[in-house]
Amino acid sequence: MNFAFTKEEEALIKEVRSFIGQERTPELIAESRDLGLIYGGPEARKFMKKFAAHGWLTPNWPKEYGGLGSSEIMTYLIRDEMAYAELPYIFVGAHMAGPTIMRVGSEEMKKKFLPPLARGELEFALGYTEPQAGSDLVSLTMRAEEKGDFFLVNGQKTFNTHCHVADYHWLAARTDLQAPKHKGVSLMVVPLNTPGITIRPLITMAFWRTNEVIYDNVMVPKGNLVGEKNKGFYYVMSALDFERMVPPGAYRKLFEEIVEYAKETKVGGAPLSKDPLIRQKLAQMATELDVANLLYYQLADILDKGKIPNYQSSMEKLFVTEVFQHITQTGMEVLGLYGQLKKGSKWAPLSGKVELFHRWSVVETIYAGTSEIQKNIIALRGMGLPRG
């Protein structure tokens, strides 16, 4: 056992941290919050040009595709550092689509997409969820009909968050109506400016935007198919084992700000941090964050040992996102009445950050597999319980 980072890892993180410190602009942070920490906005692309040039966006990728061939721990460390700095850290291209292309894509596709993804020049948007296919993703009905050398795609997606800032759609569509549901889905890459695609905003209660996307007779060349036809659902599911992970950094930063606030704010003549109840709550959050860290780095350790995380990534997602909600709730309790004040209000503590993240955290236990779905996976795969 060893619960420390190596000297090299520490040194790299120092370098990344100092780079971020120098290059992080107020405009970038504002854009990052406005977009909900997803990648793809112009400020982020500007920043990423220099950041990714170090290989830091995809450090675990092989050098030939623009990575550093580094360990997963290194990759996890950098992602957490990005989250801590409130940089956009939710990447579909570099973290989800890219690795799947690497595993199952054609040589041509790898050459075309992987190097620019590693440079941060391209971003993808997940095209999975539909109005009638959320947790029950396998029931998706978007249709991709084979017509000679292209697919004709029709249907509707919803909550496809990156679509308004991304270049490509990472689309799951039904290519076989006769086969069992999970054997009739294919994955394809679709430029989002293809004629027939309409992207409409859906505004969340955290005020960042997600989208519904309508495909009306959209022609997608067959060369855009990822891997084999009708294997898309398997690709999506197995990708989740590799890539389902939530860095705790952004909320750790928020927690540190709440702690500072509690130390500096006096009520009844004494700092809030001297109140026994508040001390208990803050210590509990510090503890939960430490647990979250251990679950997060466990995933990297499993990958670095050449194994594939299984229920562990569900446990991490489940636990970490619930900690996020505990942290904003604790922040709200520390701030009391002030907790409801939004950014721009002259009395708003921490520029209204707790209020913003409190609204935001509602979705954490919902997106990318709800807490209930994660618990199902833990029970079925982690404990071998029978299916209902």
Binding site: D304, N376, L380
Partner: protein, 378 residues
């Protein structure tokens, strides 16, 4: 980062698991709950023969020279088996105090005997206020002439009724402004004139005692560490013992899982195994999460102790987390086990009782969150 045990630790784990499976079945645990001594010489000697009494003790003092992580591995299996008896008091609590605070003479005299299984130790710490906090240590040692006279009452002293040596925390000054000052530790033979111990009736049938000291004589050479400066040592012992308790509780968590999983797979209601119902699956997923996170927090802290790194934060986080998480895991275990788990004949109740006792031992969640709050500079 490496979350796996090394090969030697894995061997120790497997050996301990099999040893306890054979030597410490639940019938034995139940018997010892009723037994006044709470352990058998036979098992004690067998454990000593394994080298476990001296696992933390350096080879120079006749020990096995293992590290704290090794001990955590062993305690995990002890917790899995609900091991009764004074092993924890001797090999963890008392030994840690001696190793970390004893003079060369004291270590040479006592530790080889401990390693051989010939000496049982314990620490007499808590008193009427029922807390490990320094201000609650009020047993007084006065020095009228050539020797100290110790008077007071200790409560919840583990295994004092069978211990050969008590490490007793006393006040050698009136409670000063800083209650951490003025505390001293004495090594006292339990047979000393003026010491009396009486078993308390506890939920888990573990052996906690009331120990009274009536003008017990002690000399300067019996001091463990410096006079009036006992608290820093005691605090270190507290944190290490807390992590060690976490290891026991984590092992208990594993046992709960091993009881729950087969049950929910086999128990049929409404024509299906109850483990196929989502309400039950969610409880099970929570048990697994509480258990695995407990393990990680425990081993992280134990590893830091082994490596000689700072461990105050991690130890308190671990005890705060594991105390609560394992309690919740056991409660959920009871919930899915149904009426059967409520029966005295089912083993789940043993773990309910023992983990409750472990939750309070060396500070519960609230206690350690307060310690952590101080470490955080709150």
């Amino acid at each position: 980062m490496d979350y796996e045990l090394n090969q030697e630790q894995q061997i120790l784990k497997d050996a301990a698991h099999n040893f306890f499976l054979k030597e410490c079945p639940s019938a034995f645990v139940r018997q010892m709950m009723e037994d006044e001594k709470g352990y058998t010489v036979d098992l004690w000697k067998k454990m000593a023969a394994q080298g476990w009494m001296g696992l933390l003790i350096p080879e120079a003092y006749g020990g096995t020279g293992g590290n704290f992580l090794d001990m955590a591995v062993l305690l995990y299996e002890a917790g899995y088996a609900c091991l009764p008896g004074p092993f924890f008091s001797t090999a963890v609590l008392g030994s840690t105090a001696l190793i970390d605070g004893g003079s060369e003479f004291q270590k040479k005299e006592l530790l080889p005997q401990v390693s051989k299984g010939d000496r049982i130790l314990t620490v007499a710490w808590t008193e009427g206020q029922g807390t490990y906090a320094p201000q609650a240590i009020l047993t007084r040692a006065v020095l009228p002439k050539l020797f100290y006279l110790i008077s007071g009452t200790k409560l919840f002293v583990p295994d004092a009724h069978v211990a050969d040596t008590l490490i007793c925390a006393v006040r050698t000054q009136e409670v000063p402004r800083d209650p951490e000052d003025g505390i001293s530790l004495f090594l006292l033979p339990r047979q000393s004139v003026g010491i009396q111990s009486q078993l308390l009736k506890t939920m888990a049938g573990d052996k906690l005692c009331e120990v009274t000291f009536d003008r017990v004589q002690a000399h300067g050479k019996d001091l463990l560490g410096e006079v009036n400066r006992g608290w820093p040592l005691l605090k270190k012992v507290l944190l290490k013992a807390a992590v060690a308790k976490c290891a026991e509780m984590s092992g208990a968590g594993q046992k709960v899982l091993d009881m729950v999983i087969p049950q929910v797979k086999e128990r049929i209601q409404f024509g299906k195994p109850i483990g196929s119902f989502q309400a039950v699956q969610y409880h099970c997923a929570d048990i697994l999460t509480f258990f695995e996170t407990s393990k990680f927090m425990t081993f992280q802290a134990a590893w830091r102790i082994s490596e000689g790194l700072s461990f105050a934060k991690e130890a308190s986080m671990s005890k705060a987390w594991v105390s609560d998480a394992i309690r919740k895991a056991v409660a959920l275990g009871h919930q899915v086990m149904g009426g059967m788990g409520f029966m005295e004949e089912h083993d789940l109740q043993l773990y309910f009782k023992r983990t409750k006792s472990a939750e309070w031992a060396f500070g519960n969640g609230d206690f350690h969150r307060e310690l952590l709050a101080r470490e955080m500079g709150l």
